[in-house]
């Protein structure tokens, strides 16, 4: 029996999840893995390898947080730009950005930065925040809540 991932299809039982069929040395099993990121059809094409050329600017969303202590009330829009061999992801309203070798790396770092920034700014009194951090805190609080 060939080991590894056999197939990856949308889950029939859980929304916003994929069902991964995997084979290990001793048995085959299925996992339902939640989508961490939803994307516009321009970014992900089911069943095909997606290719962003150098001049593409695309938009996707982060609608689930990696840190499961928090949940998103509203998704964050992410601007994706391919620059040379790297992918730049930006959440412009928060002045957050990340460079990665691919979309997954970029979006993962942004996802982590969101909760790090939320935790950090939430720990600060508003009187100790300048105009930019105060605005970021307001935006983050409108999008993120505790589980």
């Amino acid at each position: 029996m060939e080991e590894g991932i056999v197939s990856c299809v949308p889950s029939a039982t859980e929304s916003n999840s994929v069902q991964v069929h995997m084979n290990s040395a001793s048995f085959a099993y299925y996992l339902n893995i939640p989508f961490l990121f939803s994307a516009s059809s321009e970014v992900f094409i089911e069943g095909e390898n997606r290719c962003i050329n150098e001049t593409d600017i695309l938009y996707t969303k982060i609608d689930t947080l990696i840190n499961f202590n928090y949940k998103l009330k509203r998704a964050f829009e992410v601007k994706i730009t391919k620059t040379g061999d790297e992918v730049l992801g930006e959440i412009e309203e928060l002045e957050l950005y990340s460079f990665g070798n691919n979309e997954f790396e970029t979006l993962r770092e942004l996802n982590q930065n969101l909760t790090e920034m939320y935790e950090y700014l939430s720990s600060k009194n508003d009187a100790n925040l300048g105009k930019f951090p105060l605005n970021w805190k307001r935006i983050l609080s409108s999008h993120i809540s505790n589980q």
């Binding site: 620059t83 040379g84 002045e95 950005y97 460079f99 790396e105 770092e109 982590q112 930065n113 790090e116 920034m117 950090y120 600060k124 100790n128 925040l129 300048g130 105009k131 930019f132 951090p133």
Partner: protein, 95 residues
């Protein structure tokens, strides 16, 4: 004016030595820190890694933006002529 290309480790060194941000997160892939004027957090900055590879303006412009510096002042920060004290005087405008 365009931001010059500098080694990532040099940009990292200048940020840490001249600006001395409060490091918020040391987790991979990048550190990031808060920059304070007195007790007030004014901005944040993502700190480059300890790499020798050149960082070009397409990337460093984001760092410059984080620092609230234009291209010329960012080049001066890395090239040595912009001191930390001068940087913080400029930063007061963004409190």
């Amino acid at each position: 004016m365009k931001i010059n290309s500098y080694p990532e480790k040099l940009i990292r060194k200048k940020i840490l030595s001249k600006i001395k941000p409060e490091i918020i997160n040391k987790n991979a892939p990048h550190w990031w820190g808060g920059i304070y004027v007195g007790k007030v957090l004014v901005t944040k900055v993502k700190i480059p890694n300890e790499h020798n590879r050149l960082m070009h303006s397409n990337k460093s412009k984001h760092i410059a933006h984080d620092l609230r510096l234009g291209a010329e002042d960012f080049n001066r920060l890395i090239d040595c002529s912009l001191k930390g004290t001068e940087y913080y005087i400029k930063l007061r405008a963004f409190i």
